[in-house]
Amino acid sequence: MPFGTRLRGAALLAASLLPLAAHAQLVPLAEGGARALALGRAATALEGDVWGHYNPAAWATLPGRAGAAFASQAFGLSELRIGAVAFAEPTRFGTFAATARTYGFSDFRETSLGLGFARAIPVSATRAVHGGLHLRYYGVSIPDYGSAGALGLSLGAMMEVVPGLRFGFLAQNVNRPGFSDLDPLQATLDVGLAYEPIEEALVLFSVAKDLDYPVSFRGGLEVRPVEELFLRAGFSTAPVRFSSGVGVAVGVLRADIAAERHEALGWTPAFGVGVQF
C-alpha cells in the first residue's frame, strides 16, 4: 500500500476516534512560542523572536544568544500536545539557529528538526533588511503503518520601513514538501506589519494565506506596563480565535504563558521559558 494511502487510512482511523487529532494539517499547530500565540499568531514582523517560526528573519534581529523551550496542548487534548526547543547563536556572519519539535501521541507522532540562518543585509548607512531561511525536516510515524519524511524550506524577510514600523513576509515550505503527493505539508504566504507607536507598546497585523485554507487576518497587541511585565492579546480570522497571554522578563530569563480560544474547539494553553543574552 503506498504510504500516502496508509497515512490517510491512519488519519481516518484516528479521525473516527479523535476528530481533532486526525491530521496535522486540519488545525494549524499551536507552535512558534507562547509569545506569538498570545499575539494572535500575527508575528510575521515580530522582532527578537527566537523561534523563527513566523519569520526566520527574526533570528537576525536577536540582540544576543537565545534559547527557549515551549509546550502547548491544543484544546486541552493530550493527543495534540507539542513540545519544542529552539536555540539561536548570532555570529559575525549572521545568526545560526536550530529548532526541534515533537507533536502528537504514541499512535501518531510528527517530529521536526530544523536548521536556520538569518542575517542583516545593510542597504544604507543606517538601514538594513533582515533575511532568513529555515530548513526543516519533518518526520511522521504511525505504528503499524510506517513512517515518512519530508524536507521543507521557509524563507522570510523583515525590515524597518520607517522608524517604529516594520514589514515582514514569510514563504513557508516554499518548496511544497509533503509526506506523499496527496498530503502536502502546510504551505503559507504571510505578510505582516509591526508598529511601535510608543516604546512600551507594539501593534501587530498580518495576513496569512495557507494554500489550502481561506485567507486569515491576524492582529496582536503587546504592552509593557512595567519593565519586567508584558501583557498580550490577539485575534485571528479563519479560524476565528482570540488569544491572550502574559510574559515576564527578568535579567536574561524569560517566561511566557498564553491561552488561545478557538471559536468552536475551545482553549489551547501554552507555556514557554527562555534565556536571552
Binding site: V161, F167, A171, L189, V207, P214, V215
Partner: protein, 713 residues
C-alpha cells in the same frame, strides 16, 4: 523628401560607425507603471503600450525642444500640463536643468517623479542656435555618429505541453480519424532588428513565430521562415517632413473613432490623464500583433508651420474565414463571403492555416490637421475595399456587423484649450451614413484634475479601424455612456482618484439577448509618506446586465437579463530599501454574484522582491498564493517580464504562482548587452489537468521558460 532618402540609406549603411554617445540606461518599464495605466482585462495589443513607454524611455524628450504634443505622450503629463511647460519655456526662457520643471504649474512632485524617466535636457546652446520654424534636419555625419542598432532575440517555451504537440499515431495518420495537431514546435521565436537615429529615423524588421507554428518557407502564405514578418523605414520630424513611413505603419487621429492602433489605455486608477487621446498621426509599426496595422506608405508634411497634411495607402492581407456561397443563392456560383476575421494571429492547425492571409484589403485616405497653440482641429478619412464581401450572419447580434466589400469613413476632430481646460471631441461618419461621436472636457487645476467624457456609438456604427474609449475598450459600436473621472492631491504625499462610468448597449450582443446597461466605479487612495514607501488601497465595483434564463408562463425557457456584480478590494505596499533592493506586497480580495445569489469570492496574496546584485545582475521574483471560487472570481496580476513582453496573468482556482527573472548586463567591453531569463510556474491544488483543447496539460502545473538576448550598439 529627397533629403530624407540618403539619410535613411545612411542609417542602414553607416551603422558600423560607433555611436559616440553611451547608450542611455534604459531600465525596463516596471509592471506597476502599466498596471497604473490599464484595466485588468486589457484589450487590444498590449505590447503597444509597452513599446510607447519603452520608446520614450530610450529616447527621452528634451524639455527645451519638445513640443507640447510630444510632451503629452508621457502618461504623467496631461495635455494641459504639457502646454504649460512649453508656455513657461517661451515666457521665462529655457530650462537650465530638469528639476526646474517643478516650477511649472501642474508639475507636482508626483507628476515630476513619474515623468522624470522620459525626460532629458539638451545643451542650451544647441537650442538657441536653431531659429527655424521646423525641426532641424540632421546632417549625414550626425546620423552616422548617433545611429544605434538594437538586436533582440527571444525564445519562449512552455515546458508542459498539451496534446497538440503529441505525435500522430501511425495507425491514424492519413485516416479521417487523424487527430488535429499543431504544425510546428512549441517555441515562440521573436527576432527584431532595429536601427534608429534619435527619434527621427528608424529601420525595423520584426520576425515572429508563435508556439505551434512551423518554420517554413512559403511566400504564398506570407511565411518567410518565421510565420510573421513586419518591416518599416521611417523618418519623423525632420524639416517639413512630419512623418514618412514605408512598410508597416499605424494611424492615430483624434479620439480614435475612425483610426487608431488597436491599443489604448482603458479604465483604471489613472482615471483622468490617459482618457483623452493624443493622436500622433502616422507612426511606424514594429510590434508582433499580426492584424492591426497597415502596410504600404504614409506621410505627413507641414504645409505651413500650423497646417499638416497626411496621405496614406495600404495593401495587405488579413486572416479570415471564407465560405463559398451556396450556388442556389442569388450570387454567382463560386462567390465567396467572409464570415469572420481572425484576431489571434495564430496559424498552428490546418483550420488556422487555411485562414491565414485569406482576405486582401486595400485602403487609402488622408488627413488635414491645423495645429496651433490654442487648438488642434483635423479631418481624416479613408476608403477601403476587401477582396471578398463580408456576410454578417443572421443571428440578431450579428445584424449590424459590417457587410459588403467596401467601406468609407470620415471624421472631424478637435482639441481646444481654454486656459487650464481642454475640450476634446470627434464625430465620425461610418459606412451607411451613420454618425457616432465622443467628446468631453478635461481640466488640470493643480490639486484637482478631472475629465468628463460622453460617447455615443450607435448599434449600426461600424468602425473598422477605430479604437475609441468605451466599456469594451476598442469596440466603438453599440454603446453609449458617460464617464466622470477625478484625481485629487489633497495633501503632500496623498493621491485620491476615482471614476464613475455608466453605459448601455442599445442592441443585443453575443450571449446577451437584450439591450443591456451597467455601471462601474473605482476609488483609489495612495499614500506616499516618503519617496521610498508607497501604500495604496483600491476598491472597484461593477454591476451590469448579463444573460439569464427565465421560465415563461407556459414553462418555456425565455432568455432575459439579470444583474451581475463584480467587486474587488486591493491593498498594496511597496518599500524601496535601496537602489538595489525593492519589496512589494499585495493582498486582494474579489467577489462576484449574479442577481441576489451567493457571492463567489477570491483572494490573492503576493510578495515580490527585486534585487540588483554584483552590479550586473538583476533578480525579479514573486510568489503568489491565489484562491478563488471558480472563474467568475478571477484575479489578475501584472508581472515583470522580458523586455518588450507583456505579462498580465489571469489566476483562478486554488494554487500558487511563482516566477523568477534574472537579468545580466555585463557593461564594460560588452556594454549594450542584456541577457534575460525567466522561469514561471503556476501550480494548482486538486487539479489533474490544466488548460483546455489541444493545450490541455496533464498534471497540476504549467511552467514557462523564456530567454532573451538583446544587444545595442
Amino acid at each position: 523628401m529627397t533629403r530624407v532618402a540618403p539619410l535613411l540609406i545612411a542609417l542602414l549603411l553607416a551603422l558600423p560607425a560607433r555611436a559616440q554617445e553611451a547608450p542611455a540606461d534604459s531600465s525596463d518599464v516596471d509592471e506597476a507603471v502599466l498596471e497604473n495605466l490599464s484595466d485588468d482585462e486589457i484589450s487590444g495589443d498590449p505590447t503597444a503600450l509597452l513599446e510607447l513607454l519603452e520608446n520614450l524611455r530610450e529616447n527621452p524628450l528634451d524639455i527645451n525642444r519638445a513640443s507640447a504634443a510630444d510632451l503629452a505622450q508621457i502618461p504623467a503629463l496631461s495635455a494641459s500640463v504639457a502646454r504649460e511647460i512649453v508656455r513657461f519655456r517661451e515666457t521665462y526662457g529655457l530650462f537650465g536643468s530638469i528639476p526646474e520643471l517643478r516650477a511649472v504649474e501642474g508639475v507636482t512632485d508626483e507628476v515630476f517623479l513619474e515623468a522624470r524617466p522620459y525626460l532629458t535636457i539638451g545643451r542650451v546652446l544647441d537650442v538657441e542656435r536653431r531659429p527655424s520654424l521646423y525641426p532641424a534636419v540632421p546632417t549625414l555625419a550626425e546620423v552616422r555618429a548617433n545611429a544605434r542598432v538594437d538586436v533582440l532575440q527571444r525564445v519562449q517555451r512552455r515546458l508542459d505541453l498539451g496534446r497538440g504537440y503529441d505525435p500522430v499515431p501511425d495507425s491514424l495518420a492519413g485516416t479521417p480519424d487523424e487527430p488535429t495537431r499543431y504544425a510546428g514546435s512549441p517555441e515562440r521565436v521573436y527576432t527584431r532588428l532595429r536601427a534608429t537615429y534619435r527619434r527621427n529615423l528608424s529601420a525595423n524588421l520584426t520576425l515572429e513565430k508563435d508556439p505551434g507554428e512551423p518554420f517554413a518557407w512559403d511566400p504564398d502564405l506570407g511565411s518567410y521562415g518565421y510565420d510573421f514578418v513586419s518591416f518599416h523605414l521611417a523618418a519623423l520630424q525632420m524639416g517639413r517632413l512630419d512623418a514618412l513611413v514605408v512598410g508597416d505603419y499605424v494611424l492615430e487621429f483624434g479620439q480614435g473613432l475612425a483610426l487608431w492602433r488597436a491599443a489604448g489605455f482603458g479604465k483604471g486608477r489613472e482615471s483622468v490623464r490617459t482618457l483623452v487621446k493624443r493622436g500622433r498621426g502616422v507612426r511606424p509599426y514594429g510590434s508582433a500583433d499580426e492584424n492591426n496595422f497597415f502596410r504600404g506608405a504614409a506621410a505627413t508634411v507641414a504645409v505651413t508651420p500650423w497646417l499638416y497634411a497626411s496621405a496614406f495607402g495600404s495593401r495587405r492581407t488579413l486572416d479570415a474565414s471564407i465560405l463559398e456561397v451556396d450556388t442556389t443563392e442569388v450570387e454567382a456560383p463560386g462567390t465567396n463571403v467572409v464570415t469572420g476575421l481572425g484576431a489571434t494571429g495564430l496559424h498552428r492547425t490546418p483550420t488556422e492555416r487555411a485562414r491565414k492571409n485569406a482576405l486582401g484589403q486595400t485602403l487609402g485616405g488622408g488627413a488635414v490637421e491645423v495645429r496651433t497653440d490654442r487648438a488642434t482641429v483635423g479631418v481624416v478619412g479613408y476608403a477601403t475595399r476587401f477582396d471578398e464581401a463580408f456576410a454578417p450572419g443572421d443571428r440578431p447580434y450579428q445584424r449590424f456587423n459590417f457587410s459588403g466589400d467596401e467601406a468609407a469613413m470620415a471624421s472631424l476632430y478637435a482639441n481646444v484649450f481654454l486656459g487650464r481646460y481642454q475640450l476634446f471631441g470627434e464625430v465620425a461618419r461610418a459606412p451607411d451614413g451613420v454618425f457616432g461621436g465622443v467628446g468631453g472636457v478635461e481640466a488640470a487645476l493643480g490639486p484637482l484634475d478631472f475629465v468628463a467624457l460622453g460617447r455615443h456609438y450607435p448599434r449600426d456604427f461600424v468602425s473598422l479601424h477605430g479604437y475609441a474609449f468605451g466599456e469594451r475598450n476598442g469596440i466603438s459600436q453599440n454603446e453609449s455612456g458617460l464617464y466622470l473621472g477625478l484625481r485629487l492631491r489633497p495633501a503632500r504625499g496623498w493621491i485620491v482618484s476615482g471614476f464613475f462610468d455608466q453605459y448601455r448597449f442599445p442592441w443585443v450582443r453575443f450571449n446577451v439577448p437584450r439591450p443591456a446597461r451597467g455601471h462601474e466605479a473605482l476609488l483609489f487612495v495612495q499614500y506616499r509618506p516618503r519617496t521610498w514607501i508607497t501604500l495604496y488601497a483600491q476598491g472597484r465595483t461593477e454591476t451590469r446586465e448579463t444573460s439569464a434564463e427565465f421560465a415563461g408562463p407556459t414553462g418555456a425557457v425565455l432568455p432575459g437579463l439579470t444583474d451581475e456584480t463584480r467587486q474587488s478590494l486591493r491593498v498594496q505596499g511597496e518599500y524601496v530599501a535601496s537602489r538595489a533592493l525593492r519589496f512589494r506586497a499585495r493582498v486582494e480580495g474579489t467577489r462576484y454574484r449574479e442577481a441576489a445569489g451567493p457571492f463567489a469570492t477570491g483572494v490573492l496574496v503576493f510578495q515580490d522582491v527585486r534585487w540588483q546584485f554584483l552590479d550586473a545582475f538583476l533578480l525579479d521574483a514573486r510568489l503568489t498564493f491565489f484562491d478563488t471560487e471558480g472563474y467568475d472570481a478571477r484575479l489578475y496580476q501584472f508581472e515583470n517580464d522580458l523586455f518588450g513582453v507583456f505579462a498580465n496573468t489571469l489566476l483562478y482556482g486554488r494554487g500558487t504562482r511563482a516566477y523568477a527573472m534574472v537579468g545580466f548586463r555585463p557593461g564594460g567591453r560588452f556594454d549594450g548587452l542584456d541577457l534575460r531569463l525567466k522561469l514561471a510556474e503556476t501550480r494548482f491544488r486538486h487539479r489533474h489537468t490544466v488548460g483546455s483543447g489541444l493545450d490541455e496539460v496533464e498534471g497540476d502545473r504549467v511552467r514557462d521558460l523564456s530567454l532573451q538576448l538583446r544587444y545595442r550598439f
